[in-house]
């Protein structure tokens, strides 16, 4: 089991490294087209990365090692999430629970790294971004945990792979109102966590409205590259997770070459679908005020909580 888990992990990591910039490119392209622009093509993010790696990082006085170490940690955490989350297959390491709480805290490790980078820059904007970022992260966490908790109830385990497996074996549960509520909540949480519309505008250039961009304002060169890549991978992984929960079909529950290949294809399909859907949605949304965000999150939390309660009413007769 362990070996296959290792294989799967490597597959998922590499896939996500390759795919997530393309996913972002795709989303940008979809937006561009919907907004009537030509767009810069799906490969643009990869080009950006190459350019950034070739550039020299510039670092202001008073900043410390955090500026250079933070991005690395962010990427590492995103990759670790890719290992933990069932994207292509459900094989797991026996001793590392792909546990909801473990997954979330690994994710938060990256969040913290990002926030510290923002603070270390020593400019007003960095602090601002980091503060907003942390506030949102703090408010998102209950939603994430409770919604996955809701999904975990029918399966009786909080391990993501187990949940996905369970849904694979019992397709009825996918369409159950419980899971729908929970998934909506989870989706909102993912949107907020990854800084997409309407919580944050990834393509803004006005400092005062920035969240994510404000934090990376002072980073440049490969630091910036890592930061971008890290957050893209995280977006990909989370979307992938939502995908596997929403439509578990095709995911490899046993480890053979074919199943893994099928799983890969399924993953790509899900990512494309979700990504374009998200991008399409973003076109029609405007960024909401920062102090309206809590309302959004509270709403999603209520959904998640309702999901839990409902699931008990279902389970408990």
């Amino acid at each position: 089991m362990n070996a296959s888990a290792l294989v799967l992990a490597t597959v998922q990591v590499i896939t996500m490294i390759v795919l997530s910039p393309l996913l972002v490119g795709l989303m940008r392209q979809v937006r561009a087209r919907l907004e009537g622009r030509a767009g810069s093509g799906i490969l643009q993010p990869w080009r950006d990365l190459r350019k950034l790696f070739a550039k020299e990082p510039v670092q202001a006085d008073g900043t410390s090692w955090v500026m250079s170490a933070g991005p690395v940690v962010l990427v590492a955490s995103s990759l670790l999430v890719c290992v933990l989350v069932p994207l292509v297959g459900t094989a797991t390491f026996p001793l590392i629970p792909d546990d909801l709480f473990v997954m979330v805290s690994v994710l938060l490790l990256g969040t913290v790294a990002l926030a510290l980078v923002g603070l270390d820059s020593g400019s007003a904007f960095g602090g601002m971004g980091s503060s907003r970022h942390m506030t949102i992260a703090a408010l998102v966490e209950p939603t994430v945990l409770v919604s996955v908790y809701a999904l975990s109830i029918p399966v009786g385990s909080s391990a993501l792979s187990a949940i996905v497996k369970g849904r694979l074996e019992d397709p009825a549960s996918v369409a159950a109102p419980v899971s729908l509520l929970a998934l909506v909540a989870l989706f909102v949480a993912v949107v907020a966590e990854t800084g997409r519309m309407p919580v944050d505008n990834p393509s803004t250039h006005l400092e005062l409205t920035m969240i994510h961009e404000a934090m990376i304002l002072e980073s440049s060169g490969r630091d910036l590259a890592w930061l971008e890549l890290g957050s893209w991978i995280r977006l990909g992984a989370l979307l992938g997770l939502v995908g596997s929960l929403l439509a578990p079909w095709g995911i490899a529950s046993s480890m053979t070459v074919t199943t893994v290949f099928v799983g890969l294809v399924a993953l790509v399909a899900k990512l494309i679908a979700l990504g374009s859907a998200l991008a399409a949605g973003e076109v029609f949304l405007a960024k909401i005020r920062l102090f309206r965000v809590p309302e959004l999150l509270a709403g999603s939390f209520v959904l998640a909580f309702l999901a839990v309660a409902a699931s008990y009413l279902v389970v408990g007769g």
């Binding site: 202001a60 400092e207 939390f301």
Partner: protein
């Protein structure tokens, strides 16, 4: 003479040595000798606790001048667990104190008080009957009050804080006294073993339980009885506040465990609910206050009441699930409670000692004046960072493992048809999650503002790394944070052993396994995986660094080349501002903004003043009115003694008549 007896006796003897050293030794060497002695008290008690956990027994009977039931010291396993935790904390803090205390705190009194304090802390969990428990409890209170007062010459705020602390701690003492007295009255004996025979459903048991919970909660800093905590911790010398927060507060938790596991096991289920409610409220409120506080030690104090809240929540969950019949999960959550105890002890010690180093180096507790210490105080920075990781429950630290266990038990606890549990568990999950999230913000703020970017004040700019003993203690405690995170297995086994449960243990001796809920966690493996990935990334980035080296510039982006002064950086206050807006109703911050317009036009602003103070809502709405009421009564009561002898004779006459009427009826 068993090992345990020897240990207890040795503690007493060492305390005597410490006190004499503190009094007799010349000031130059006082700190070293007394500190060393106190550290050894802690180590001895830790050793005693270990031997108790390994099944060692033994009791010491104290001589008392009254014909009461025997007054005994006989630690049981639970006590042993706490003796280990508390002992180690005290040892580290004492070592730290050696080079921390200079000036007022190195007085004879403070060192002797410290010794007594440490001894009392060790012996409270060793007590085997009501009287000895109360004795050492009150001794603990007295000595800690003396320590809070230690720096009375430098700050006048010490006095009011000490008063608050003294009164609140006396309040908790009285509650505990009454509670124990109720139980002892029902049992007609003061021994814990006798009290354990009281039927939990009886009225006396209920009354006693409630009183005891109130008492222990107020010592543990549970909202709304926490008001002493954010006052006493900042005023005490930092190593003392470390002991108070990491060890003394735990005595409240120990008391709660003692009552609900040993004295009154399997009580009615609302006991569990009561504990959960208390825990949840103080967890959320505590961390909210912590994340908006800008005084570093005050913030740590509030985070203490958050962590204790989680412990109470875990304990309550355990009781509730046990009464529901979900034994596996209940065992897991009680173990989680003990894991939280140990984990919190580790990282809170680190954090308070770190805060002490900052205070020592900069003379500042206010985060808004700190910054840039990371380069100036590397050791403090690293250790504080580890402590903060622990407090934020991030992998792989003691806090992470503990909260993981807690969530596991919460999630698996719900495998039941019981509606009550079905509602309580998800709510608890949400509370824990929100707490974790806010804790993240709070400690990112604390570390980021204090150690990163550029100094916001002269004190921070002039900071130097602290002394040898301090660094040593810091490193020890920081390592313990990581160690407990990486190797939780033995601790979990010890915890299960201490609580007499089977629901948890070690897997592969280092990893933790919660058999009750079929959950395994091997932090080492997780760590290895993480390191591999990080290493890969790092390699890439280093190879890139060969090609294009870093370039340093002097400016950060200031919207077009304005000279960016440190004052433009985000401060702790501004960092928490969005949050304090979101939770405006719960925190009620007082803001006042003064805008002075320039003469000509009211559109041109000349100067803007912004002040924000976040008081304690509980204090202003609960305590102030009570105090005023008592004050008013006192004022009115003066009329009783208005000096007129006729009135005084009238009192006596009235008493006489009343008595005559009574007896002749």
């Amino acid at each position: 003479m068993t090992l345990v007896q020897a240990g207890l006796a040795a503690e007493g003897a060492t305390t005597f040595v410490a006190v004499t050293a503190a009094i007799l030794v010349a000031p130059r060497y006082r700190a070293r000798t007394a500190g060393a002695a106190i550290a050894s008290i802690g180590l001895i008690s830790a050793a005693t606790g270990v031997s108790v956990l390994n099944g060692g027994e033994g009791s010491i009977r104290l001589p008392v001048a009254l014909p009461t039931d025997p007054v005994m010291l006989a630690p049981d396993r639970l006590g042993g667990f706490f003796m280990v935790v508390v002992g180690l904390v005290c040892a580290v803090a004492a070592i730290y104190g050696i080079s921390y205390v200079s000036g007022p705190a190195t007085s004879r009194t403070s060192w002797s008080a410290m010794a007594v304090f440490v001894l009392a802390l060790q012996l409270v969990p060793a007590a085997a009957d009501v009287v000895s428990f109360l004795l050492f409890w009150e001794l603990m209170a007295l000595s800690s009050t003396a320590l809070v007062l230690a720096e009375y010459k430098t700050r006048s705020s010490v006095r009011s804080s000490a008063l608050w602390y003294a009164v609140m701690t006396q309040f908790s003492f009285v509650m505990i006294l009454l509670g124990f007295a109720t139980l002892a009255g029902a049992a007609q004996h003061t021994g814990f073993d006798a009290i354990a025979h009281v039927t939990p459903t009886s009225g006396a048991a209920t009354f006693g339980f409630v009183l005891l919970v109130i008492g222990f909660a107020s010592k543990a800093g549970i909202v709304p009885l926490h008001v002493w905590l954010p006052r006493a911790h900042p005023e005490a010398p930092s190593h003392v506040s470390a002991v108070m927060s990491a060890a003394m507060v735990k005595m409240g938790v120990y008391g709660a465990l003692l009552v609900s596991l040993r004295l009154l096991p399997d009580g009615p289920r609302w006991w569990g609910l009561l504990l959960i409610a208390l825990g949840a409220v103080s967890a959320v409120y505590g961390i909210l206050q912590a994340s908006v506080a800008s005084d570093l030690k005050r913030m740590l104090a509030y985070s203490t009441s958050e962590n204790v809240g989680l412990m109470f929540l875990a304990l309550g969950t355990g009781l509730l699930l046990r009464s529901t019949g979900v034994s596996g999960a209940s065992d897991a959550s009680i173990v989680a409670c003990l894991l939280l105890v140990a984990g919190h002890a580790a990282f809170k010690t680190t954090l308070f000692l770190g805060a002490g180093s900052i205070l020592h180096a900069t003379g500042e507790r206010d985060l808004d004046r700190l910054g840039g210490l990371g380069t100036r105080m590397p050791v403090t920075s690293w250790t504080f960072a580890l402590g903060a990781l622990g407090a934020a429950a991030l992998p792989v630290t003691s806090g992470f493992v503990a909260e993981w266990a807690l969530l596991q038990s919460l999630i698996h606890g719900a495998r039941t048809q019981d509606r009550l549990v079905a509602v309580v568990m998800p709510l608890s999950v949400a509370v824990v999650a929100l707490t974790a999230g806010l804790a993240l913000l709070a400690f990112v703020k604390a570390y980021g503002i204090a150690f990163l970017a550029r100094p916001r004040g002269p004190g921070a700019a002039a900071a130097r790394e602290s002394g040898l003993a301090m660094r040593f203690a810091l490193i020890i405690s920081a390592c313990s944070v990581v160690f407990l995170g990486l190797v939780p297995g033995p601790l979990a086994a010890a915890a299960a052993n201490a609580a007499g449960l089977s629901g948890a243990g070690a897997t592969r001796w280092w990893g933790i396994s919660l058999d009750g809920v079929h959950a395994l966690l091997d932090p080492v493996a997780l760590m290895v995986l993480a390191i591999c990935l990080a290493a890969a990334v790092a390699v890439v980035s280093i190879r890139a660094a060969r090609r294009v080296p870093r370039r340093r510039v002097e400016l950060t982006w200031g919207c077009g080349g304005v000279r960016v002064s440190p004052r433009m950086q985000y401060t702790a206050t501004s960092y928490a501002e969005p949050l304090s807006r979101v939770f405006d109703d719960a925190l009620r911050p007082e803001r006042d903004i003064v805008v002075t317009h320039s003469g000509e036009s009211s559109y041109l602003v000349e100067r803007v003043q912004f002040r924000q103070r976040v008081g304690d809502v509980v204090e202003t709405t609960l305590y102030r009115p009570a105090i005023q009421l008592i004050d008013r009564i006192g004022l009115a009561a003066r009329g009783l003694q208005n000096g007129s002898i006729n009135r005084y004779l009238g009192y006596s006459f009235a008493a006489l008549l009343a008595v005559l009427v009574v007896v002749s009826l």
